[in-house]
Symmetry: C2
Subunit: 81 residues, 2 copies
């Protein structure tokens, strides 16, 4: 079982890394790019037999408290088999 | 339409950021964490009317050529509506 956390800057927050990737793509000739957001991806391998609900609760707290900065970032947590 | 690219270090490559997050989780009392991998997440907004197949081909090339480093990183590209 794995937990996947995707952390992205909030839409209202300046995303210079995303802007840089967008410019790079345009300069390399890739058309049709309307916007780019760059974030972090955290994959957590959970020990076998971990309770799904409990893991979700615990990691949701961790994501909110110290894996992301809730002032400027959004996160999405997903538990997959 | 959006393209989502997840870039992670290859399993054989040392992932100090992942190790740090794992240690932090353990110190904060989260049990059952067997491993952590930290990667990058890139979300690309595609202009309306972009051809799905063509976008996939183009971005697959971009991901391979300059968004990731194929020597030490793997990537996964997905086009979603």
């Amino acid at each position: 079982m794995k937990a996947k956390i995707i952390i992205t800057p909030k839409k209202a927050v300046l995303d210079p890394q995303g802007k840089t990737v967008q410019n790079a793509l345009e300069h390399m000739g890739y058309a049709g790019v309307a916007g780019v957001h760059v974030g972090k991806y955290i994959e957590i391998d959970l020990a076998p037999g971990t309770d799904r609900e409990a893991a979700y609760e615990a990691l949701n707290g961790a994501a909110h408290r110290f894996l992301s900065n809730p002032v400027i970032e959004d996160y999405k947590l997903e538990i997959v088999d």
